[in-house]
Amino acid sequence: MTRAGSALLIVGLVFCAAPAARADLPADVCPGRYEAAAGPLAGGTEAAQPADFGAVPEACPGSDLSLRLRGELADHSGAPDFSGDIVASGTARARRRIGGRGWVSIAVDFLTYRYFDNAGLVGTGPSFGPATVGYHLVLSTAPRTTVAAYARALLPIDTASQSRTETGLELGAAARARPSRRWVVDGGLSLRERLDITGGQAHGHLEPALLAEAWFAPRPAFALFAGGSLRLEAAPDLTLTAVIPRAGLRGALRHGLWLAFLAEVPLAGSEPTQALASLFLGWAP
């Protein structure tokens, strides 16, 4: 069995074996089935946050399926870089509640297409993977506020790599607050250790990230949001990776379906990508 197959098998077994559960939601803060102000939406580039690895998740439990189509653009065709890239990727994501306060998640970048132009030399190609699996647990609830912690693992399933096995662990916390009926604030902190094992050598990267955003829902089924994220590499070198303002909208459709759009524009840091756009389609049973 291939490495990718082994990992997928593990993920599938765990996910299927996890008991579904229902419990009372913290109703004053967590979104209902037809409420649009439900976030945050996973952002970041495919290279930096593959399969949502490093993306601050929801603070509220839930069971749902979603599909994310992501496009990234970097145009540095002028001097001195003479480079540019376009990346298109699709990510499938699922959450399933287990117990009253917990849920598991899996995500997989099922198709990524890269176009990288390095001064006229163009590399292209599709790939599959990687995937993540996570466990989330509501730590505390208070009136209009909930806080959850999570752990997520990056599974080394990636056909784009030539010699690399990429894996990692992520710990973090997500929070959501509802200061008023129409306003929601969410965000969180992620701390991940990404481990690349390439040609027998291991390279670790400790990378914290912060996310904060505010949602405004003029109607329960439609919400706008804006915010920003900050990504750093803390080790081996302290580097500001990206400051990324983000904005978008989300609408709740019929039958538990929802649709969302997220736009991100990295402004500072070493991240060369200049614009990201993601389209989400989800279903909550």
Partner: protein
């Protein structure tokens, strides 16, 4: 019910277990360079049989070790690394010894077969350098920091014995992308195993095209890749559209145009195909294009081989490449095809490919089997002296064989089929060549020693429909093509002799056959009509006219010439020096690109030390793009500069020339200061100021920065002046210390006003010279050939005549250079100009940049022009402060002269200086030209430079045109001589520059 926490733990542990399992296998340095990793040997499937005298040698070259192999391109120096077995020697330049386009050492600098053969008694090096890069921009070049020998001291006769050198480095623009290369030789192998490990430690994915960059340098080896429409044919390479030239191939090969006859090939070992682009400037052969993720890595393994026989052309290298593919990739063994080339039933001596060669290709699909855009060439071979040939080809295919001679098809192509076994295809019949024997005499009955033979067709070869000879489509433009244009004699339509005797083979036809010994000698010509297989003989007399044309103490010099040591030249040293002597030049400044040379050993071989003076020098020639000019998209190199006199030290890198990259001109000059024995007479020459860029590399500094000579240059950079003007005025920091520099970018003391035959360039360079003189930047003007070959540019056309009491047999170099700097010289491509001004006090003055004089009201200017009868002139032009103020016409009708006679033609005129529209106030400078009429064209594109409206290099004149014979000898030349300036202190208050108009 399972506990969720247990499930998550299972996942994590499982993931880590998988990752750990993946990490157990250490693969060289593809995971990064930790300083201890070691790439394994490349090409493990490669296995050569044991040989009779296995040998291994690896060492760092010591300070007094002479380790250069035969050939002008051999550059091994102390500190470099040497790998050698019984068949090849490989020299790797030390990390701090960069050459040419490399940001560091770590490249293959020399690669030479060591075993002589009957056809190649002196095998040698033909490589400039083979570099590593991961892209086409300078930032993607590999910069090696360290090197270490890996020598397990194994018995060479033991299987698997090896010696290796490991280079560690990174990409020039991103140290996080690490690169480690292992060069390894094993006994009995005809090349070097190379494995390069690259790790992308940057946070971003990228297209990293790890490749070998074979820097052929334009005029050297002819590269070849098998493939439809390929072979020696190469898609046009445009750096803006590299993708259009992108191809894949099973191997890359290359063959030399000249001695030493060496062929190379490279075969990828860990990928079935090489990929990249192929051109006579640079071939990049590497891994297929793909995206390398952050944290990912890969390796690139190849075998680079060198062969010197037993046959010539590509054949030995291709045979070995196919053999390697069989071992490494499991390709079916190549078959050997043998045969013989005959003409009129007699075997044909291939004469190193000049008289016969064969190109083998798979036919094109469809009706036209020989459609060059669709055939798939596989090999090329040159028959030996007995006409026989042997060539390796992939089995089980249909082939066509096309014979060539003198750059053209010599018969129709024929077909044959090979299965799995060797094939004898019998005789390949070609049209017989003719033979021409010429004896050149310096006076009737006295054999000339050095002379040049020039052959042109009687019928204009530019007539539409006339076949154009070429080296399989490369280097076209010779008619007839007696040999590869950039090679040794005979090359293109020329040959050189060192004893007055020529024996050349050439295609049948009607020809004018000239013998020449330069512009200061007579010219002789014969007309021959040669049928196939016919021999003809001619005796031509070429008498020296130097004593009649040149005043005593005046010597002629060409201050810009190249030989095989230059990366863009392939002419052997013997032919190069013979060409100096044949054209009658007295002094040569050896100015090879980035390497100091002297031709001393060749002069000694020829016993010609007193026949010509050679001053060692260098042309500093940056190749790495780095300098940004506002509003220009791409970075620049900042032009070429010559420096002399220098002393070559063959134990040093580049023979002692400083590294020329990433420097402004002032810094180039700072670098050179320490090398001059007498800085006061050191010459710093701006070369071809507005020559256009070659594959992105700017060759002229003013062109690179976009200087408009109608705009002023400040003393120091200042607001309100153009970027280019301020760049010229800038004094960059010392490149070594980082402290204040000594030279501004304008500190050249000599400018090439005329380079080669291009009229358009001459007029543009002259505009700069005049602008600088007007602004008070007094620079001597020179005229040089910038010759790289025997044929494409002509040595001594143009050249300089240096006034003084000079003796080429015992040249006082300091005195000679001092006269150059003082402007005691003229430039000429034929006419000899003698300009004097007699002031009111009766003192006679010549051009001088160091002293001004007050002419007085009765001053006169005398202009005397002389030339050999085959070099026409018609007028003299007087420029005052850059403005043409007078044209004196001469009445000699050169079309009615005996141009093959020995009577020089002369004319002179004396002018009252006061009548020459001297300025009413302030001072003036005067320059005089003589030659054929030439207006100053208008600036039509607004760059401040004149734009010649008609053809730069005009076509062949009619036979009755007085330029016909000169154009045969020096195509494109427009007969012109120019003086250096006279500085006229008109107001008696000391000379001041008149300023720009």
């Amino acid at each position: 019910m399972r506990r969720p926490g247990t499930s998550v733990l299972t996942v994590v542990v499982g993931a880590l277990a998988i990752a750990e399992a993946a990490g157990c296998h250490r693969d060289g340095c593809v995971g990064g360079d930790d300083g201890a990793c070691l790439p394994p040997a490349a090409c493990p499937a490669l296995s050569y049989a044991a040989c009779a005298a296995p040998k291994l040698r690896v060492e760092q070259i010591g300070p007094n070790d002479a380790e250069r192999v035969y050939g002008p391109k051999a550059l091994a120096a102390a500190g470099d690394y040497l790998l050698e077995n019984d068949l090849v020697r490989v020299v790797l330049d030390a990390p701090d010894h960069p050459h040419f386009i490399g940001p560091s050492g770590g490249a293959i600098l020399d690669l030479a077969p060591l075993v002589p053969s009957p056809l190649v008694p002196n095998p040698g090096d033909q490589t400039n350098a083979i570099y590593h890069a991961a892209g086409v921009l300078p930032r993607d070049a590999v910069h090696y920091e360290t090197a270490a020998i890996l020598d397990p001291q194994l018995d060479p006769s033991r299987p698997g014995a090896y010696a290796a050198v490991i280079f560690r480095g990174h990409l020039e623009g991103d140290a996080r992308v690490t690169v480690v290369t292992r060069y390894e030789v094993r006994p009995c192998e005809p090349g070097v195993r190379v494995r390069t490990d690259l790790y992308n430690g940057s946070p971003d994915p990228n297209t990293l095209f790890l490749a070998d960059g074979f820097f052929w340098g334009d005029n050297g080896l002819a590269p070849f890749v098998p493939g439809p429409g390929l072979g020696f044919v190469e898609p046009a390479l445009d750096l803006l559209h590299v993708d259009q030239a992108w191809r894949q191939w099973p191997f890359l090969a290359a063959r030399s145009q000249s001695s030493p006859d060496t062929a190379y090939a490279v075969v990828s070992c860990d990928r079935s195909q090489g990929a990249g682009f192929n051109s006579t400037t640079l071939t990049a052969s590497g891994v297929p294009l793909g995206v390398t993720e952050s944290g990912d890595g890969f390796h690139f393994e190849r075998f680079i081989l060198a062969e010197a026989g037993p046959s010539l052309g590509l054949a030995p290298a291709v045979a070995e490449a196919l053999h390697i593919r069989t071992m490494v990739h499991g390709d079916p063994p190549a078959v050997t095809v043998t045969g013989r080339v005959v003409a009129n039933g007699a075997p044909v001596d291939g004469q190193a490919g000049r008289a016969a060669s064969l190109l083998f290709y798979e036919p094109a699909p469809g009706a036209n089997l020989d459609d060059p855009t669709r055939v798939t060439p596989w090999n090329e071979v040159v028959p030996g002296s007995d006409g026989t040939f042997s060539v390796a080809l992939p089995p089980n295919r249909s082939y066509r064989v096309q014979p060539y001679a003198f750059g053209l098809p010599a018969a129709a192509a024929s077909s044959f089929v090979v299965a799995a076994g060797d094939v004898a295809i019998g005789d390949v019949t070609i049209t017989a060549s003719a033979k021409l024997t010429v004896d050149v005499q310096s006076s009737p009955g006295v054999a000339a020693s050095y002379a040049e033979l020039v052959v042109i067709p009687v019928d204009d070869p530019n007539t539409p429909g006339t076949p154009v000879p070429s080296l399989y489509s490369l280097f076209p433009g010779c008619a007839p093509m007696l040999g590869p244009p950039d090679g040794g004699s005979p090359a293109c339509n020329r040959a050189i002799t060192i004893n007055g005797h020529f024996d050349v083979a050439l295609p049948a036809g009607q020809y004018y056959v000239y013998a020449t010994r330069g512009p200061f000698a007579s010219l002789d010509r014969a007309t021959v009509d040669l049928a196939p297989g016919i021999s003809a003989q001619a005796t031509l007399v070429v008498e020296s006219l130097a004593s009649q044309l040149l005043p005593a103490g005046v010597v002629s010099g060409d201050f810009h010439v190249h030989g095989g040591a230059s990366f863009d030249s392939a002419i052997p040293d013997l032919d190069r020096v013979a060409s100096f002597l044949a054209t009658g030049v007295d002094v040569i400044v050896a100015t090879d690109h980035n390497v100091v040379t002297s031709y001393a050993s060749t002069l000694a071989t020829l016993g010609a030390e007193s026949a010509i003076a050679v001053i060692p020098g260098v042309e500093q020639t940056p190749n790495i793009l780095w300098y940004y000019v506002p509003d220009d998209t791409f970075p620049k190199t900042l032009g070429h500069f010559n420096f002399w006199p220098l002393s070559p030290d063959t134990f040093q890198t580049r023979n002692g020339a400083p590294w020329s990259e990433l420097r402004e001109p002032g810094q180039l000059m700072d670098d050179m200061d320490a090398l001059f024995a007498n800085p006061a007479t050191a010459v710093r020459q701006l070369n071809h100021p507005y020559l256009l860029a070659k594959l992105g590399r700017d060759q002229g500094y003013p062109q690179a920065i976009g200087y408009d000579p109608t705009t002023p240059i400040p003393p120091t950079p200042k607001d309100g002046f153009s970027f280019a003007a301020n760049a010229l005025a800038r004094t960059p920091p010392d490149p070594t210390t980082g402290g204040p520099g000594n030279h501004s970018n304008l500190d050249w003391n000599v400018e090439e006003v005329m380079t080669g035959a291009s009229r358009a360039d001459w007029l543009r360079y002259r505009a700069l010279w005049f602008s600088l003189l007007n602004q008070g930047f007094l620079r001597a003007g020179t005229a040089n050939s910038d010759s790289h070959t025997l044929s494409v540019e002509r040595i001594g056309y143009p050249r300089n005549l240096v006034w003084g009491n000079h003796d080429k047999t015992a040249l006082d170099v300091d005195g000679f250079d001092a006269d150059i700097l003082a402007g005691h010289l003229e430039g000429t491509n034929g006419p000899v100009l003698d300009v004097t001004i007699k002031d009111s006090n009766g003192a006679v003055h010549r051009s001088d940049l160091t002293t001004s004089f007050t002419p007085g009201p009765n001053a006169t200017m005398t202009i005397a022009v002389t030339s050999a009868p085959w070099i026409p002139f018609a007028e003299a032009r007087v420029f005052v402060n850059g403005v043409l103020v007078h044209t004196a016409e001469f009445s000699i009708d050169f079309s009615k002269l005996d141009q093959f006679g020995t009577a020089p033609q002369s004319a002179n005129v004396t002018l009252q200086l006061a009548t020459l529209m001297l300025p009413s106030h302030g001072d003036a400078w005067v320059v005089v030209e003589a030659g054929l009429p030439q207006d100053t064209p208008a600036d039509t594109d607004g760059d401040g430079l004149p734009d010649l409206p008609d053809a730069d290099v005009p076509g062949r004149p009619a036979t009755g045109d007085p330029r016909f014979n000169l154009q045969a000898i020096a195509p494109g030349v427009w007969p012109t001589a120019f003086s250096n300036p006279f500085l006229l202190d008109l107001d008696g208050g000391g000379w001041t520059a008149p300023g720009l108009p």
